[in-house]
């Protein structure tokens, strides 16, 4: 399968917030309520189309358990995007965001696009963290924010794709050096390096980012 770009994603957050479920929903379009703890890291990949370009997302789904924290740090290197996930029904997972963010900023390139995700939005009755709090946190730290449900698939596509759009926009703006693999972007095989997409198109994309589909 040929692709124009490959983006490396990393999914981080406390244990049990639904990182693996988000990935499974995105790649396989299914939901598995009970599943094994992630040991170290698992991988997923999917092609998406942004602006008529095939982009391969290579997703690193990391272990959230504390004993893997040091190991997880070595996975940040060369990630173009990060999905920082918390569970809207458990406040402590929200409280730990700062420490995750610190880790992410410290071990990755400064251009990495970070998407904050409040998962399990289907469990409205057990909600413990208000949507506004998530939004405020994202605003304060310059992140994109979305609430998702890996169970109902609500906003899952959007979360992954909007992150990709944002990365793509940054490439267009020349913020990412696509030749430097440390940025988590690879140019696909047999692909001429023609990143001269019209600025109007990328502008339109950037406006889409952050506007949710409204199903949550």
């Amino acid at each position: 399968m040929t692709y124009a770009y490959l983006f490396k994603y990393i999914i981080i957050g406390d244990t049990g917030v639904g990182k693996s479920c988000l990935l499974l929903q995105f790649t396989d379009k299914r939901f598995q309520p009970v599943h094994d703890l992630t040991i170290g890291v698992e991988f997923g990949a999917r092609m998406v189309n942004i602006d008529g370009k095939q982009i391969k997302l290579q997703i690193w789904d990391t272990a959230g358990q504390e004993s893997f924290r040091s190991i997880t740090r070595s996975y940040y290197r060369g990630a173009a995007g990060a999905l920082l996930v918390y569970d809207i029904t458990r406040r402590e997972t929200f409280n730990h965001l700062t420490s995750w963010l610190e880790d992410a900023r410290q071990h990755s390139s400064s251009n990495m696009v970070i998407m904050l995700i409040g998962n399990k939005s289907d469990l409205e009755s057990r909600r413990d963290v208000k949507r506004e709090e998530g939004e405020a946190f994202a605003r304060e730290h310059g992140l994109i924010f979305m609430e998702t449900s890996a169970k109902t698939a609500c906003n899952v596509e959007e979360a992954f794709i909007n992150t990709a759009k944002e990365i793509y926009r940054k490439i267009q703006q020349g913020l990412f050096d696509v030749h430097n693999e440390a940025n988590g972007i690879k140019i696909g095989p047999q692909q001429s390096i023609s990143t001269s997409v019209g600025p109007s198109a990328s502008q339109r994309n950037s406006r889409d980012i952050g506007s949710n589909s409204g199903c949550c």
């Binding site: 599943h35 094994d36 990949a45 092609m47 290579q58 004993s67 070595s74 996975y75």
Partner: protein, 336 residues
């Protein structure tokens, strides 16, 4: 959007069975040894790994405290028992001595000596009754140490072994994670191998971790139970002893009314020895029991102070008086 590709642990169970090759075993041993070495040399371990075991380490702390204090308690009981014996012997000797001297003395002092001697002999016999519950207590504590504690200790050791294996496997995983690229088959193959190892070690460790936590909880609870049973028996016997002897002493005290009181000056020197030793070991014993059973048991151990004081002051008074007359004839006795 196409090209779904995802690999999950549940899909991989069959594809990556545990590698039982010699090379793998060697590598596993290498990381295990490395972990053991890090621990033995006291080098700083991964803080997150350590933090994730915080609950377990707290339980281990409790276990070690139970282990230590039970041994202390066992020793204290032995010492206490021994000193009760010594005191009882001395008390008996003193009683016999007073009686024999009392026969020779035809004054009122002689009468006092006889009565006191009798009371002392009685008290010394009664005091020995304390040994029964203490003996029993000692046996129970020893059984507890040899069965319950050593059983938990075995589990703790097994857990520590698994912990080393697990942490070794984590070190290994960290090592292979450094330059990981999921699109490079060779690297992934290696990573999966280590991942299987970590998963297995984690499973074993988590199981034993839970075992240890549950066993330590149970151990603590059963010790509380043991102490409250045993100390209750001891307390009853002790109260019984006090009741009897204080009754006897009170009777003599009553019969001495109207007798000339005496002042004494050299009391303390003469009484050093068994009584003080006993007091010391009693204090030790009580402090052990106290440190372990805290509030529950302490509420039961509170002594009837009044009776103890009465009994002891009488004992001091009478025996001090006799000592002065018979052992130190030059001492000044001043009728007040």
């Amino acid at each position: 959007m196409s090209g779904h590709k995802c690999s999950y642990p549940w899909d991989l169970q069959d594809r990556y069975p545990q590698d039982k090759s010699v090379v793998n075993k060697m590598q596993q041993k290498y990381w295990e040894t490395k972990q053991a070495f890090i621990k033995a040399t006291g080098k700083k371990e991964d803080e997150h790994v350590v933090a994730s075991d915080a609950d377990l380490d707290a339980k281990l702390e409790l276990f070690h405290s139970i282990q230590r204090t039970c041994l202390d308690l066992s020793k204290a009981i032995v010492l206490y028992q021994k000193r009760i014996c010594f005191l009882s012997q001395e008390e008996n000797e003193l009683g016999k001595f007073l009686r024999s001297q009392g026969f020779q003395d035809k004054t009122r002092a002689g009468k006092m000596m006889q009565a006191t001697g009798k009371a002392l002999c009685f008290s010394s016999q009664q005091r020995l009754a304390l040994r029964n519950p203490l003996c029993r207590f000692h046996q129970e504590v020893e059984t507890f140490r040899h069965r319950a504690i050593s059983d938990t200790w075995l589990t703790v050791n097994r857990m520590e072994q698994c912990r080393t294996e697990y942490r070794g496997a984590l070190l290994w995983m960290k090592d292979v994670s450094q330059e990981l690229d999921p699109d490079l088959y060779k690297q992934m193959e290696k990573f999966r191998k280590v991942q299987t190892q970590v998963r297995l070690a984690k499973k074993n460790f988590d199981k034993l971790k839970m075992d240890v936590c549950q066993k330590v909880d149970l151990l603590g609870a059963s010790r509380c139970n043991l102490l409250s049973h045993m100390l209750a028996t001891y307390q009853t016997t002790l109260l019984h002893f006090w009741e009897k002897t204080s009754h006897t002493m009170a009777a003599i005290h009553e019969s001495f009314k109207g007798y000339q009181p005496y002042e004494f000056t050299t009391l303390k020197v003469k009484l050093e020895g068994p009584l003080e030793n006993l007091e010391r070991s009693k204090v030790l014993f009580i402090s052990q029991a106290k440190s372990i059973a805290e509030s529950i048991i302490m509420s039961g151990l509170r002594m009837p102070k009044r009776e103890l004081c009465l009994q002891q002051s009488l004992f001091f008074t009478v025996s001090g008086f006799i000592m002065i007359i018979h052992c130190n004839p030059k001492a000044q006795i001043q009728p007040s």
